[in-house]
Amino acid sequence: MAKSNSEGHWAATSRLMYIALGIWAFFAFFIHFFVNSLNAIVIFGFPLGFWFAAQGSLIVFVALLFWFAKKQDDIDSEFGMAEED
């Protein structure tokens, strides 16, 4: 039981890692491949491709980290791996 718990915890942790890195890679690299097409869209004066590199991706990174911390906490509790307070 303890063993499977440990394995389950690591499997869930790894899955969350892949999801988080997937989102990271999308906003760190992938979306900026299309900067020239995105720049054709202008919102509040901001060409969208420029805005994503200057601000949009940064907002996503911050939100991603708070979400990630929350999710990993949930995983730790679910498998009884959380720290005692």
């Binding site: 915890h9 900026h32 491709g49 990174f61 911050v62 980290l65 911390a69 990993q72 791996m81 720290e83």
Partner: protein, 731 residues
């Protein structure tokens, strides 16, 4: 003792109140300075008040946080709440270059400069997801501690220390250099004195209290730097657009910039070939270099020891994760504002400087021209001042015309004046000579306008208007001059100076601690004297801290010319040297000692080879790897011509021929056109590949090691190290 403990618990329980009062006090102080300014107190006094007051506060925090406990000294007793550790990390992370130079890079590079904004923020995702919580669970004092435990011994530890020192030392030199620049610019201190004053400012914060003192001063420094960074641009946004949210309002500025760019090209103020439209991508960096730079900066962020070790100070693994999120939030506040600084400054320069008559330029131009930071046709007030001095000396030595100045100075042995004279262009020389001859009491500002007019005419500019190509602005000017451009009172400029100093000092503190701890803990305690008692460990730690700091200040005082370039190398070196070993150490149980050792050597070695080869041995590097170079045919022909010119050159022009050859070779000495700032693009995959292959070819880690890794992976349970020693040895 009991008293001290309760006093400290009281401090930790009341952090909000303490820093709330501190922030209120700081704002009150700003208002006080503003009132003094209105009463006519001179600017220089106000500048000293700003810098003196803030450094005094840091020093008081540093002294109050002194400690005699090893765990307080190395990891602040692991009691720093996630939120405050986030602020401290923000200050630790944002350097003089982020504070002063980042907006300037965005001004100069436009979209391509955003690689720095992305790279220096996105890396924290890697920190939180891949590394920080696991290192926190492990419970080490230093990053090499982890390498030693995971990869069986001091060889891996030693390699880790070498990488750490290589990437941190140049970085700390640059911070001390930055304090010298800021203090000399705002306070008029001599640069060398300013450097050593900065050294004292750093030492009072870190020496007595180690990590504990650095943590609480960094929180205080973060508050100063973020207030200083946001205030001018918020005021500017309110002035121009009526809404105090620059991050939202600069969209309009971007539109105006684009319109003005086209207008300048249409009426001949700028050339389409040299003007880089602000929002257009890939004009400076091609796609490959843009994305390679983002990758290297991000992975480098996740590998820099002075950042990783900040997460050793949180009370729990859960707090370490939260703390990374808060860190990025606090860093984000500055980084997502930087593009608005750049846009506002660019719009101002494009509308109110370029296209103005050469005899009616705004006043701030001459302020920064005096510091050599703004050049018009290469002319600065500082340079003209040097030229006036040269002409006076030459007239005294009997020179009759402008052409005779150089020979007179040479004969009189006035090398410094000769250098200032030679730096002027021919038409400017004539203006300076005639002016000084007519009136020996003349000063540089009197001949500024005639000089740039003469240079403009020589350059074929007959309109008398300033063109885009004639104006060169140093990156640092953008943030420093914003208060002045917007006509704000001096108090705001003083605030910006205090913010820049806070950014430089806080980063220097963190780096210095990382280096000194690696030397005292990893080298001295772990490799030289493993039985040293606590008191001796702390004494050694402090002595090494002071020695490293003095060495860094000494190097900074010599004004090393490549220092800023070397800082950007730190990211690639850290990424290639440490990232594979750290990440695979947690995420791949099969990784073993020999894999890690060879992987670190290979990754770091390739990276260093590429950096040094392309920068310092460009000719040889190009000739060895010409098949891989991204050089165009024209560049190759030019290389061959310069090479032939160098080989056939007479002895007296050999040196200058070599310089021309080397300068050109640096532009083509590369693999596939990758710039050396992104050298981890080669170091990282090599490091990973070597580590994986060698690990698989050698023996798998023991059962005890596998259990150790399992322990690191689960937050529950005790730390695996205590007091800097493993609780259970791993065999």
């Amino acid at each position: 003792m009991a008293n001290q403990v309760t006093g400290e618990q009281g401090f930790l329980a009341n952090l909000g109140k303490v820093y709330g009062i501190y922030t209120g006090g700081f704002l009150a102080f700003i208002i006080l300075v503003a009132i003094l300014e209105q009463l006519g107190v001179p600017n220089r006094v106000l500048g000293y008040m700003f810098v003196g007051f803030t450094i005094l506060v840091y020093a008081i925090i540093g002294v109050l946080s002194r400690t005699a406990q090893v765990s307080e000294y190395y990891v602040a007793g692991r009691k720093v709440p996630a939120f405050y550790n986030g602020m401290a990390t923000g200050a630790d992370w944002m350097s003089a270059a982020s504070f002063v130079g980042m907006a300037g890079s965005l001004y100069a590079l436009g979209y391509d400069g955003l690689a720095f904004v992305l790279g220096w923020t996105g890396g924290f995702v890697l920190v939180s997801v891949l590394l920080a919580p696991f290192l926190r669970k492990f419970g080490a004092y230093t990053v090499p501690d982890f390498l030693a435990a995971r990869y069986g011994g001091n060889l891996a530890r030693f390699l880790g220390v070498i990488v750490l020192i290589c990437c941190s030392f140049t970085y700390v030199v640059a911070q001390i250099y930055g304090t010298g620049i800021i203090a000399s610019r705002f306070l008029g201190l001599d640069f060398t004195i300013a450097v050593y004053a900065g050294l004292v400012g750093i030492l009072v914060c870190s020496m007595l209290g180690g990590m504990r003192a650095v943590t609480w001063t960094q929180v205080a420094q973060y508050i100063v730097l973020i207030v200083a960074y946001l205030t001018p641009v918020v005021i500017l946004s309110t002035q121009k657009y009526g809404i105090p949210v620059p991050e939202l309002m600069y969209g309009q500025a971007l539109q105006d910039i684009t319109a003005r760019e086209q207008e300048m090209i249409a009426n001949g103020l700028a050339q389409a070939a040299t003007l880089k439209p602000h929002v257009t991508a890939f004009l400076t960096y091609d796609r490959l270099n843009y994305f390679a730079l983002i990758l290297c900066l991000m992975v480098g962020t996740a590998s820099l020891p002075h950042i990783l070790m900040r997460y050793f100070t949180t009370p729990s693994v859960r707090d370490a994760r939260k703390s990374v999120a808060w860190s990025l939030f606090f860093i984000f506040l500055l980084y997502f504002t930087a593009p608005s600084y750049a846009a506002f400054a660019k719009l101002e320069v494009y509308t109110n400087v370029i296209g103005q008559s050469l005899d009616a330029l705004p006043a701030w131009i001459s302020t920064y021209s005096n510091l050599d930071l703004v050049k018009i046709y290469g002319i600065t007030l500082k340079g003209l001042g040097g030229g006036i001095g040269a002409v006076k000396a030459a007239l005294a030595a009997g020179a009759l015309d402008a052409a005779g100045v150089a020979t007179s100075l040479q004969a009189a042995g006035q090398d410094a004046l000769l250098a200032s004279w030679s730096a002027l262009s021919e038409p400017v020389k004539a203006v300076v000579f005639e002016a000084v001859k007519a009136n020996p009491a003349i000063v540089a500002s009197d001949i500024f306008t005639p000089s740039i007019q003469a240079a403009a005419q020589a350059a074929g500019n007959t309109t008398g208007l300033l063109t885009h190509g004639a104006l060169a602005i140093d990156n640092d000017v953008i943030v420093l001059s914003t208060p002045e451009i917007a006509g704000m009172p001096y108090v705001i400029a003083g605030l910006v100076a205090a913010g820049g100093l806070a950014a430089a000092l806080s980063t220097a503190d963190g780096l210095l601690l990382a280096i000194a701890n690696a030397l005292s803990h990893d080298i001295y305690y772990k490799m030289v004297d493993t039985k040293a008692p606590t008191s001796r460990r702390l004494v050694v730690a402090r002595i090494l801290l002071v020695l490293v700091a003095i060495a860094a200040a000494y190097v900074a005082s010599t004004r090393p010319s490549d220092i800023l370039a070397m800082v950007s190398w730190a990211f690639s070196l850290a990424a290639a040297g440490l990232f594979p070993a750290l990440v695979l150490g947690v995420w791949w149980k099969r990784a073993n000692k020999w894999g890690a050792v060879t992987g670190m050597i290979a990754g770091f070695g390739i990276c260093l080879y590429y950096l040094v080869g392309t920068r310092y041995y460009a000719v040889g590097f190009y000739e060895m790897w010409s098949g891989l170079s991204g050089a165009s045919d024209a560049a190759v022909t030019k290389f061959n011509d310069l090479k032939a010119a160098f080989e056939g050159a007479a002895p007296e022009v050999k040196a200058s021929a070599l310089k021309a050859l080397d300068t050109h070779a640096q532009t083509i000495a590369n693999w596939f056109g990758v710039r050396n700032i992104s050298s981890a693009l080669f170091g990282l995959p090599v490091g990973f590949a070597v580590m994986i292959v060698v690990s698989l070819l050698t023996k798998a880690p023991s059962k005890a090691m596998q259990d150790f890794i399992d322990e690191i992976r689960r937050p529950k349970g005790k730390e695996l190290m205590e007091g800097g020693n493993l609780v259970t040895e791993i065999h």
